[in-house]
């Protein structure tokens, strides 16, 4: 495996994982007000944390104050309970941006975010059996 460039530029082995230009990343963060970290609640949502709309959300007036990205994310959440990763893929936004936006929605009471299964605490046999049978039936 030798994809190192031989030229004099900054040789970046495996550089295909990088965007040719980091520029576009600047824009997504504009919608988070430049923040790269979720707000005061300071949670780093797991990729498979599930996001559900809150039973008792703020009123329409407050919702009207949300930015377009917040609102489209909220629409995705309303359509279906989804993981953070899916929301990022569906919204076509980087995960970090989605985490920040979700942090806002959590703070203001529009959504709730589940904690994923804690490490080393795997589901019981019955669930695993279900997974295996489900895989077979795919």
């Amino acid at each position: 495996m030798n994809e190192d460039s031989t030229g004099g530029g900054p040789a970046v082995p495996g550089g295909q994982w990088y965007d040719a230009d980091a520029g576009p990343l600047v824009r997504p963060y504009a919608m988070t007000g430049g923040r790269t970290r979720p707000g005061p609640s300071n949670v780093r949502f797991d990729l498979i944390a599930l996001v559900v709309v809150d039973d008792d959300p703020p009123g329409a007036a407050e919702e009207g104050l949300l930015g377009p990205e917040h609102r489209s994310l909220l629409a995705l959440c309303r359509a279906e309970t989804q993981s953070v990763a899916e929301l990022a893929a569906d919204a076509d936004l980087p995960v970090g941006v989605v985490r920040v936006l979700l942090g806002d929605l959590l703070e203001s009471g529009f959504v709730r975010v589940s904690r994923p299964v804690p490490p080393a605490q795997l589901p019981d046999e019955r669930i695993l059996r279900e997974v295996i049978d489900g895989l077979r039936a795919l």
Partner: protein, 207 residues
């Protein structure tokens, strides 16, 4: 019962069909070009997932940023697929980038993971050593799936297991990452194995 279920809305749109939801995470790792994307795509609807990382974390050992402060984040692409077992029970697959420099991603991904598939190519078996080491050290259940590329000499599972010096019991499965049934079989072996490991640990902690 030890694990937490995530509570979902009991009222509202859900009609109370399912009051709990469970998401399980499986990682697909292995060397560069070994078939990770192909495997995730053959068993699930694959979607690219972008995650952005600080260059100081992502590339400090590799990249000489030479004091260029502007370029602080970089995008890392991962493969991401979901298999819905039933409403309220889903399997999420994450294909990790093959390069060593992205190991830090694994630390987050492997948190709470059910297990991992380490893809191997017998023509360059050494490429999967780091992944095998990683999961062994963290006691994350994994299976080695040997992706049988055409033209590669076929080895038996035992030979691969010996060459990788795997712990006894770690399954080695021969597969064709392009084939859905083959990919499913790999996942089934992993879930079975993760279940056995889990039970063994429970017994260990009791005795």
């Amino acid at each position: 019962m030890a694990y937490e279920r995530s509570e979902s809305t009991g009222t509202g749109a859900g009609d109370g069909v399912d009051t709990t939801a469970l998401a399980l995470k499986i990682l697909v790792a292995g060397g560069f070009g070994v078939g990770k994307t192909t495997l995730v795509g053959s068993v699930s609807e694959i979607r690219p997932l972008r995650t952005e990382e600080r260059l100081s974390r992502a590339g400090e050992l590799v990249d000489d940023t030479g004091g260029v402060d502007q370029k602080t984040t970089t995008t890392v692409a991962m493969d991401f697929g979901r298999i819905t077992i039933r409403s309220g029970l889903s399997l999420y697959l994450f294909g990790t980038p093959g390069q060593d420099r992205f190991w830090f991603l694994w630390d987050e991904l492997s948190q709470g993971a059910l297990g991992a598939v380490v893809l191997a190519d017998t023509r360059r078996l050494e490429d999967c050593f780091p992944a095998v080491d990683y999961f062994e050290h963290r006691k994350i259940p994994f299976v080695v799936a040997v992706n049988c590329f055409t033209g590669a000499r076929t080895y038996g599972a035992h030979e691969v297991s010996r060459a990788l010096d795997l712990d006894r019991g770690t399954p080695v499965v021969l597969c064709d990452a392009r084939d859905r049934d083959s990919g499913k079989e790999v996942l089934i072996r992993l879930v079975e194995y993760a279940g056995r490991m889990h039970t063994a640990r429970l017994l260990d902690s009791v005795g």
